[in-house]
């Protein structure tokens, strides 16, 4: 009894277990929107986060696309950064040491243009300290398959995951692209191939043009849409994935405030990643963590895990005669 009342007055437990990965809270930063962690450290102590997913890393440094790389759209942002990154070696030498000094799970987002690059990234990072998990970005063109994006074909997606799975014992997150017909099929394929966790979604393929100059607004012509505009799409994708697999799922796409995060958790995502919202407010992630805590308090829930996945899709007919008493209308 005393224990119970103690429990309810102590702050709610926000921790979540995603297969092999335990996070103190369900709020991660999304790859490519939070640099290598240090960029936002003046605004948010990394220790307060569920985890940091760093900018996508390739075997070798990449300069990225020529500018313009960004276009703002209605409640959205199109980017075509071109996966600019410092490359694996520089990451390990110059970026990771800082992250190791902070008590936060570091998730390394990796990508390649052929299967072998993914595998090598996996095996080289396997030996490195201070990494909590790898996130495999399969939204990249496979140069050996005519540039077809790895993540758009179940078999190809699975082959990437298998390659990395064999190369490392680190927890694996596979990040799905929404630019497919049936995301559930891809989810099943990567689960079968051995991913521990699925995150979804990456950006939605998009485009913008300038009617005056008659030119694309991005040097790359097309890019990926993120931000609040895509949240309803991301939520639907996450829902489809949750119905297709058993492994834990991380919801990504348009999470901008507490309610957005709770929506993904409600449908069953174990955690969320916050991307574009960091640009709107560098403290967005903190506000979301605090908001979730407050929500659980108001709802009288001691543990976030008690809320996750409690979506009720049954119908309630409050004015059907049988149920009238229930709503106090007798």
């Amino acid at each position: 009894m005393a224990k119970d009342s103690n429990a309810s007055s102590s702050p709610p437990d926000l921790s979540v277990q995603l297969g092999p990965l335990r996070l103190k809270n369900p709020v991660l930063t999304a790859s490519g929107t939070y640099g290598y962690g240090e960029e936002y450290a003046e605004f948010v102590a990394p220790e307060s986060l569920g985890g940091i997913v760093v900018k996508g890393i390739s075997l070798h440094p990449r300069p990225g696309n020529p500018p313009p790389r960004l276009v703002e759209t209605s409640a959205g942002l199109i980017n075509a950064i071109g996966l600019e990154n410092v490359g694996l070696e520089n990451f390990i030498k110059h970026k990771l040491p800082y992250l190791r000094t902070r008590q936060v799970p570091v998730i390394v987002n990796i990508f390649g243009s052929v299967l072998e690059e993914y595998a090598e990234l996996g095996s080289r990072l396997d030996k490195v300290d201070g990494i909590a998990a790898l996130e495999i970005n399969i939204s990249c063109p496979n140069v050996k398959q005519g540039g077809m994006v790895f993540g758009t074909e179940p078999a190809m997606a699975a082959s990437v995951v298998r390659a990395v799975r064999q190369a490392t014992s680190l927890p694996l997150i596979t990040k799905l692209t929404p630019n497919v017909g049936r995301i559930g099929d891809i989810a099943r394929a990567v689960e079968d191939a051995g991913t521990d966790i699925i995150s979804c979604i990456n950006t939605v393929a998009a485009m913008a043009v300038d009617v005056f100059s008659r030119r694309p607004k991005l040097a790359n012509i097309v890019g990926g849409l993120s931000g609040p505009a895509i949240k309803p799409i991301a939520l639907r994708c996450t829902y489809e994935v949750l119905q297709s697999v058993k492994c834990p799922v991380i919801g990504v796409g348009g999470v901008t405030n507490t309610l957005d995060a709770l929506e993904f958790l409600l449908i069953g995502a174990k955690a969320v990643q916050v991307g574009t919202a960091n640009f709107l407010s560098p403290t967005a992630v903190l506000e979301i963590i605090r908001g979730i805590e407050r929500f659980l308090e108001v709802e009288g829930l001691a543990r976030l895990e008690d809320y996750i996945g409690t979506l009720d899709i049954g119908c309630i007919f409050p004015f059907a005669e049988e149920s009238c008493e229930a709503v106090g209308l007798a």
Binding site: E39, F43, K55, P67, P68, A75, F212, K217, T276
Partner: protein, 286 residues
């Protein structure tokens, strides 16, 4: 360098020229650490329209009063909305961001400031700093705009001990022609070689300044722009083609928010800059 997120209150909001407004903000923490040349990312309202923050240079920095000023031109949706916000309302700042103007090595030679249009904004903060540190410095300000209506009124420049060279593209005020042509001609007519050129304005103007400075071996500090999302070096969106020390021809980019906005002419790969968007014509269509 400490970056701060702060709610700032609009103390004054005044139209100074066509489509051009000065915003006076109470923003104690930012004002305390801001430097001339740096900028803030300003969130225009709590809603999602526009979605992103907008970058603005410090126009004036008054740390003792806890005040910063921004001078801006309505260029699109965001600045239009900003122009509608009234005194007493709140905007959210993230800053100060980026690097700052440096003082010239040599305070005895004159410096040249070149402003194109709204590019004059950060030069006020720069002039404050120059005069505070080098009180006898001779400053030549070349200030051009498309037309007279877009020029700031002379009074706002009265406080400064300057030589001002005005120009307009249409000849409605000052020299008829581009501000860089006026600068070129003035140099040809015997203006002493400056110890530093500071400039801010449209990219074509900056390119011209850059070429001149390189050709004459005069150091220059250009305040450059790029479309920004984060402002803190996290998104890698604000790239400009740049010269990589170890391989000058390589594809390489600097990031205006972190490596800039102040650049030296030689650091930019001008020939690789692509043009994509036409000047906005927001007053015609919506």
């Amino acid at each position: 360098m400490r970056k701060i997120q702060e709610d700032a209150w609009i103390m004054e909001h005044e139209a100074l020229a066509q489509h051009t407004y000065r915003l006076r903000l109470e923003s104690k923490k930012v004002a305390a650490v801001a430097k001339a040349g740096q900028f803030v990312m300003l969130r225009i309202n709590d809603g999602l329209d526009p979605l992103l923050r907008r970058p603005f240079s410090f126009h004036r920095i008054l740390p003792e009063q806890g005040v910063v000023e921004i001078l801006y031109r309505v260029a699109g949706r965001g600045t239009w909305r900003l122009s509608q916000s009234s005194i007493g309302t709140r905007v959210n700042l993230v800053g100060p961001l980026g690097n700052a103007f440096n003082l010239p090595d040599d305070g005895s030679s004159p410096v040249v400031l070149i402003a194109g249009g709204i590019g004059v904004a950060p030069l006020f903060a720069l002039m404050d700093r120059l005069f505070a540190n080098l009180s006898d410095l001779a400053i030549h300000l070349f200030y051009g705009a498309r037309t007279a209506a877009e020029l700031l009124p002379e009074q706002v420049l009265e406080d400064f001990k300057l030589r001002i060279y005005w120009s307009t593209d249409d000849g409605t005020a000052g020299y008829l022609g581009r501000v860089t042509d006026l600068f070129n001609e003035s140099m040809a007519e015997g203006l002493p070689r400056p110890s530093m050129v500071y400039s801010c304005g449209p990219l074509a103007m900056q390119y011209h300044v850059s070429k001149w400075a390189s050709m004459h071996g005069v150091p220059a500090q250009l305040s450059l722009e790029s479309f920004m999302a984060c402002g803190v070096g996290a998104c890698l969106g604000c790239a400009l083609p740049a010269v990589r020390a170890d391989d000058p021809a390589a594809d390489h980019y600097v990031h205006v928010c972190k490596d800039g906005p102040i650049f030296s002419p030689g650091s930019i790969q001008w020939q690789k800059i692509q043009m994509h968007r036409a000047p906005p014509q927001i007053f015609l269509f919506s």
